[in-house]
Symmetry: C2
Subunit: 211 residues, 2 copies
């Protein structure tokens, strides 16, 4: 056995239900702080305080801040993609797509436009300084775009959109309108410009509606 006893013991502790619960508490606290205050602006001490964990517990699970950041990206990606899948999988009409838009605007207006998109904000902060983080975030954003592309492809197959509609391009444009809408909303502390941005993208998609 190549590992020393201490390392084995550490691994064991991490795999116990209590160890997994502690890890999850740390990641959830970090995700919340990163979302509200930003990644760089959040210290590991603040994460410890918010999660009620000791320094040794924190370092038992994450060797450094970068490891914690990657765990948060993983959790936030799963959260956003599950939410989007739930909203988009049943969309079979343009009204359905507008309801997806309405749900996003409602969630954003509840926090007065603050904080932006968890994935978009982390992309801006991390993409140029942590290549592993960029790749993970890019994979999630690609998966998100693919969901939109699949939804638009379905609308085309159902005859809601004409054959002229290009789901790849429209899906990318729709996701950009959403991300740009988040930036303007955060800047204005109001979801109003985000609504205008998404409406313009949806109006453009509606230009391809079969008469």
């Amino acid at each position: 056995m190549p590992e020393g006893d201490t390392v084995s013991a550490t691994s064991d502790i991490r795999r116990t239900p209590r160890g997994l619960e502690t890890r999850s508490r740390i990641v959830d606290s970090a995700a919340r702080l990163f979302y509200v205050r930003g990644v760089s602006a959040t210290t590991l001490d603040e994460v410890r305080l918010a999660s009620g964990t000791s320094k040794s517990q924190l370092y038992n699970h994450f060797k450094d801040k970068r490891a914690l950041i990657h765990a948060v990206i993983d959790v936030q990606s799963k959260f956003v993609l599950a939410r989007e899948e739930q909203h988009l999988q049943g969309v079979r009409t343009l009204s359905g797509l507008r309801r997806w838009r309405d749900a996003l605007i409602q969630a954003n207006s509840l926090q007065d436009g603050s904080y932006g998109c968890a994935l978009g904000a982390m992309s801006i902060e991390l993409s140029d300084n942590d290549e592993q983080a960029r790749q993970a975030l890019n994979a999630s954003v690609d998966a998100w775009r693919d969901m939109l592309v699949r939804t638009l492809t379905r609308l085309r197959a159902l005859g809601v959109l004409t054959e002229d509609a290009d789901p790849q391009r429209l899906g990318t444009g729709l996701l950009a309108a959403l991300q740009g809408g988040y930036v303007l909303a955060q800047n204005a502390h109001s979801s109003e410009p985000m609504g205008v941005a998404l409406d313009m993208a949806l109006d453009h998609i509606a230009c391809f509606a079969r008469a």
Copy 2:
């Protein structure tokens, strides 16, 4: 005279050509570091090192990091708004608007999509933690949107766009497409999705072109 000798001397030093040159060097170095690495990730020591200034010189001009951040917002806003004014003021056709798009994409592709928009990235990092910064950035983003609205209003007055075109909404949507394009480009380290996002917004505006 209410001020002590020391304070007066400090004010005098700050107003000399050499003092103003030092201040400008500090702000330019900070702007570059904030843009490439992020605001929170940049320390005042790094700004001192990059600008070749001493601690006392730095604190002579900026009482804390927040004061330096506000000076950087001011400089970056002037830079972005001057660039946009230069590109947009002469636009009198849809082709002219596409040349504005091409210039933005070219600049973005020179850095492989990295760093995003100086104003958008600072908005995301600062809007929820520094109300003064948010208001300053919001004023700049509003001025940017107004430039786009004026450009679209001119195109409508010239008969390039029909009376149905709503410059306010289309201008907001166009700026959102640009900001969202920056986010996707930074994430992908490629300006390709930014091009698709802007093309979709411009295609939508072209739907209002007079036949």
